[in-house]
Symmetry: C2
């Protein structure tokens, strides 16, 4: 199956994000895909993304949850309006708040999966909840308040 | 004035953190210093730490707040016990939860300052509040629940 990621549809001027921008060559370039009613991202940390020996850095976990939840908010809004993701006007979100609960140390050296869904849509705001797992064990839970970005934020 | 950072006192096996480990050559290597009753960290994002053009990546902001708050928790506990930071047993903390409110877009190309303090100490837990500023404007606020790490987490 070939499916494009949510981030593949971001316009160029919104694609320099260190976390999920396909045009940021130094970045993580995470990609988010529909999977039933959830949106899912898989990412394998690099060997230097450590916190303590053997475990993944919490800031990376926060970054994955943040960017993937923002992508989820966009995907959910397109689906809510029955629109394809390449149609205009584009839904682009920014993070108003990010909360991560670290439930267990996350082992390094294995792919991580972030599974997210919209908990609530309120006008221009989407509240996304996300779970990050390693080897099918949930290691962190996140909640992101995503808000549609003012067009004035895009300078390019 | 010469002052060592909180992270300078971390033992080697706790110094591989991508955010604040002095031994992680790929990492951010943030450093936290006492400033009166606050603990302060200054960090200049790299040019590729962007979210949208002109603004800093939120995952980096979350990472700075996380690591700096963990360093703050350690510093606060040493001070609460009137102990120098090179005395044993060492206080090493992990993040139980991280909350970041993004108040304004954070401009890139200028040093960021994170100023943190302990809001509450409860047994092995320290709740740290932090503010991240650019050009003296507060752009994000964070709260971290830091918990003393079980010794079993250090494998090395």
């Amino acid at each position: 199956m070939t499916q494009e990621s949510v981030q593949d549809y971001y316009p160029d001027q919104a694609s320099c994000c260190y976390g999920c921008g396909r045009l940021n060559e130094h970045g993580l370039r995470i990609q988010s895909y529909w999977d039933g009613d959830d949106v899912v991202c898989t990412f394998t940390p690099r060997e230097y993304h450590t916190s303590f020996p053997g475990y993944v850095y919490g800031g990376l976990i926060a970054s994955l949850i943040d960017c993937h939840s923002i992508g989820t908010a966009a995907a959910v809004m397109y689906r809510a309006e029955n629109r394809a993701m390449d149609t205009l006007p584009a839904f682009r979100f920014v993070t108003a708040s990010l909360k991560v609960d670290f439930l267990k140390p996350t082992p390094i050296g294995t792919p991580l999966t972030v599974r997210a869904r919209a908990k609530e849509i309120k006008g221009r705001k989407v509240i996304v909840s996300a779970e990050l797992s390693a080897n099918d064990v949930v290691c962190a839970r996140g909640e992101v308040v995503a808000v549609q970005m003012p067009e004035t934020m895009i300078k390019a």
